[in-house]
């Protein structure tokens, strides 16, 4: 399965973007020179995090305002929860996303 490539220029800073990879929806966030990718599904009630907002390295879910550390995926208000990360490599002006396995209950 080829990795997904995204031009870095298509990722405005702190603006979550939805990308589909191997039938799995991912949320990709650029934070400074770093890029992070997670399954686009809040563990709480499964809202798409790509519809959320990013501020001060915190991603807020649009559904019920759960907050996640952009860099680690850790939920800040319910630390028992964590987003499922997907490997990311920033190669110059290109962002490559690693393989994303579908999680239980995750829609294609």
């Amino acid at each position: 399965m080829p990795n997904v490539e995204i031009p870095l220029a298509e990722l405005p800073e702190n603006t979550p973007k939805q990308v589909e990879h191997n039938g799995v929806k991912l949320v990709v966030i650029r934070s400074g020179e770093q890029v992070f990718a997670y399954h686009d599904r809040c563990p709480h009630a499964h809202w798409p995090l790509s519809e959320g907002t990013v501020s001060n390295s915190v991603l807020e879910c649009p559904g019920h305002a759960w907050e996640f550390d952009v860099q680690t995926g850790r939920c800040l208000n319910a630390p028992d929860h964590c987003l499922t990360a997907v490997p990311v490599v920033v190669d110059g002006e290109v962002v490559r996303l690693g393989e994303a396995a579908r999680e239980k209950g995750e829609a294609t």
Binding site: C42, P43, H44, A45, H46, W47, P48, E51, E60, P62, G63, H64, A65, N77, A78, P79, D80, H81, K104, A107
Partner: protein, 438 residues
């Protein structure tokens, strides 16, 4: 279709000759006398005694007292058809049976039931560990959605939006004790309140956006706290109980295709004729003025209710130890490890004392006398208030917390969701299954 709003999540839905009543809470002073409606129902002439009883179906979304009021329900016949969601445990079903109700129909989440000529009801279950549900009523091409205060999975909301909704009733306010009852410094508290209110309002707009109703009514959520000692909980800067008109303004600002509709208790919406205001003018006046006036009017009633509260059970200490020992011991090791808490209970009053429920213990005893120095969550509560919840008289521990008549603290300052789930419903199988999947 016609819907009359009676505050919180209570709607009387009339369609095709069928009358469905959702979450009837028609008294005041739920949760140990703390919760009053956004506006007093009696001011609109609504009481359980005068309320029409020719109801074909009751829908009860869950067991919280602002949705499931025993004092209201006793006015209905015990064979009235009751619709509930099939939850992970039958606790709510058995409780209803125990009250003598004989005609209860459980529906799986997403299951539709024809309740009359062309009238269909679908119940949706929450995405959360708690038991909660929402209802969709359809008749003759008109669709009414009452979310109650249920947090549905996104997929269900999306499907509702794909078919469209004519009128939707949405939760919009906070309705619990965070952050107000924690020992945060005042400034930190105000900031947490500000952020929580902002998140709640944004969430409302998002749920309306996804479900696409023609009319969006901010409904379940806020209460008035009228005890003079706790009036501060109603403040915009210090509490999470949001004024419905603020929710309306939020929806207006969101610039959605849906029309925000402020319905106060006793107002009516009719699919043929539209909105019909019936609520008293005072329900549309400044909310803080209304709250102050209501508190003054009800102060004697609140005071006498407090005085009549029974004392704690003489054997409170042993009851508490036995209660928590049994509940913790019945959990699997995996669940105890996920909870990983030392819950300090600082109980004041003549039968009070200090105990710590230690989920990190290897057992067989999990409750220790005294407050362990490394407690992680602390509840400070009166003996008479906690007493019925550890003696088996009151089955729903969260009712105590929703009374807002306690103080709490946590170390570290993080939400321990597994501990909350344990306190909400400590069913070992349910807890184990929930955490086995996560």
């Amino acid at each position: 279709m016609r819907a009359t709003y009676y505050g919180q999540a209570c709607t009387l839905i009339e369609a095709g000759g069928i009358r469905i009543l959702t979450d009837p809470w028609l008294t005041e002073g739920a949760y140990l006398g703390t919760w009053f409606h956004t506006h007093l129902l009696a001011d609109a002439g609504v009481t359980p005694e005068t309320f029409p009883k020719n109801i074909d179906y009751l829908f009860l979304s869950h067991e919280h007292q602002d949705h499931f009021d025993l004092a209201t329900l006793k006015h209905f016949p015990q064979d009235i058809p009751i619709l509930i969601c099939r939850f992970a445990t039958a606790k709510f079903l058995y409780y209803l049976h125990g009250l003598g109700f004989t005609n209860i129909r459980e529906l799986a989440s997403g299951e539709a039931l024809t309740v009359g000529d062309g009238v269909s009801v679908t119940i949706f279950g929450t995405a959360e560990y708690t038991n909660d549900s929402a209802i969709l009523v359809e008749h003759d091409g008109v669709r009414l959605f009452n979310e109650t205060d249920c947090k549905l999975p996104y997929g269900d909301l999306e499907k509702l939006g794909q078919k469209g909704i004519d009128i939707g009733f949405y939760m919009f306010s906070g309705a619990n004790w965070y952050p107000m009852l924690y020992d945060f410094p005042e400034e930190a508290m105000r900031e947490l309140v500000r952020r929580r209110r902002k998140g709640l309002l944004r969430s409302l707009a998002q749920r309306v956006k996804v479900t696409k109703p023609r009319f969006a009514v901010p409904a379940a959520g806020p209460c008035m706290v009228l005890d003079p000692e706790f009036l501060w909980l109603n403040d915009e800067e210090r509490g999470i109980f949001i004024d419905p008109e603020i929710a309306i303004a939020e929806l207006q600002q969101a610039n959605l295709a849906s029309q925000p509709l402020y319905m106060a208790a006793s107002d009516v919406w009719d699919s043929a004729t539209g909105f019909q205001p019936h609520a008293p003018a005072s329900f549309r006046g400044p909310r803080q003025d209304y709250i102050r006036s209501a508190s003054e009017r009800l102060a004697p009633q609140i005071a006498s209710r407090r005085e009549a509260e029974p004392a704690a059970h003489p054997d409170l200490g042993n009851n508490l130890v036995r209660h928590f020992n049994q509940l913790v011991a019945s959990q699997t090791q995996r669940v105890r490890q996920r909870i990983n808490a030392k819950l300090a209970l600082q109980v004041s009053g003549p039968r009070g004392g200090d105990w710590t429920v230690d989920f990190t213990s290897n057992g067989p005893e999990f409750v220790r006398e005294g407050i362990l120095p490394d407690w992680t969550y602390k509840i400070d509560v009166e003996d008479k208030l906690i007493s019925p919840f550890v003696s088996g008289e009151e089955p729903f521990f969260e009712d105590l917390l929703l009374s807002l008549r306690f103080r709490c603290a946590r170390r570290p300052d993080e939400y321990n969701e597994p501990l909350y789930h344990f306190l909400y419903e400590a069913d070992p199988e349910k807890l184990h299954n929930w955490y086995a999947e996560r």
